[in-house]
Amino acid sequence: MDGLTLDLQILNALAALLLLLSFAMLAQRRIVRLVNLFALQGAVLSLATALLAWRTGDGQLYVSAALTLLLKVILLPWLLHRLIRRLEVYWDTEPMLNIVGTMLVGLLIVVFAFGLAQPITALASTATRSAIGIAVAVILLAFLTMITRRKAMSQVVGFLSMENGLFFGAMSATYGMPMIVELGIALDVLVAMLVLGVFFFQIREQFDSLDLNNLESLKDEDR
């Protein structure tokens, strides 16, 4: 690219890869693969963080990278896989919108996100600021993943992917959040995952399925 150094080029390529993985998650029907894609997204994020740490010489970013690797590539996917096995949900039902439609909406969202990020990019002073647009796009695409899915399981993966986008946004705008905030968020996500795991069992107990449409009727007598 026009005179960018190699490490910045690699960072940009990783950012593009993150965006691509978000789209792959949007299009994926199988929950097991969805979780694998989420783990891959975490791995790319961790790699990007480590590279940025090396570039800036910031010790805290190394800790963030290690934390991301541990939590989002190993622990959370392992928890999710275990849940999938125990709940026996391997496929999501057809999403609300068909895949082609979802992806076209996703494209519009990316255009919107890139436009939205432009003023922030103009204000930021980091070398990675051009990737802010991608971070916003990843967040909104994860949102879209949550909106178009019916099963609780894929919605949770969407939620976790949204956190990936937030993390990447913070990283590219200000070289990461303060350590204490990051640790707090990591703990939050982990606990949320554990609590949601319990929720899944309760929902299934109640409705014999993880389809969240069942939650929309408020009273028993309506059904």
Binding site: A15, I99, V100, F114, A131
Partner: protein
Amino acid sequence: MSLLDWLTQALEVIVALAAAPLFLGWINQCRAWLQNRRAPSLLLPYYGLRKLFHKDAVIATNASPLFRAAPYVVFGTMVTAAAVIPSMGTRLPFTDAADAIVLVGLFATARVFLALAAMDVGTAFGTLGARREMMIGFLAEPALLMVIFVASLITATTTLPAISERLALQELGLYPSLAFTAVAFTMVLLAENARIPVDNPATHLELTMIHEAMLLEYSARHLALMEWAAALKLFNYAGIGFALFIPWGVNMGAGPLALLASVPLLALKLALAGAGLALVETVSAKLRVFRAPEFLATAFLLAVLGLLVHLLLRAA
């Protein structure tokens, strides 16, 4: 325009005409090896063409003149397309007449005539094939245009030889946008040339066929021209791919030696591309026809993402 440029132009068309069946034969041979079959002769497509040219043509009684004219039109557009693609040299006198968008238009013309001819006789298979072809076409065309636009944005021109020349001369670097478009282009190539995830080129009389269904009514020299045109189309797509993604190793005005050197380099690129294509076709399963739009929407998406990513990251 010097004599060498005209020579390059003539040589390119002749090489495309002569080598297109060979390229097809090479892909078939690679596929056979990968699938543990005994490989057919590398020259089999030539034997097929010779056999067909020696036969007497049979045409349905209710066929219109369009049916007779279509093979010549399709073959002609493919030869014209071959003249615009810089497979051996970028200084082509012919490119002033047609840029990359016209190239896409040429492919569209060929498709329209193919589909019209398939519907002309009125058999069920022909109509079915034509409809499917148009469905694939209207999805693949925007994706191909987007791929070309990304390269055009990077190089600020739409003529294919100029794009190729500027891509070859610019500083080496990681281009996520070009990587995305390369994948998108490969997907378009597979769909447009009736290769395996979308259509199976090796079978007649399968209910899911697309390209073969349109050729069922043709025989002898008409069929030979159609098959030759299909081989040329594949060759042309490979040429576009080289021009956009492997732009090195062609004569960029350096002289006769560079032109001479570009011939073995082109052969090497074709050999590698053919082997790669055979590999993709072997490892992937054929999609249901109704999944094909999804496949092509993904190609379109990748190309547009490449465009957006280029616009965003270039600003840095």
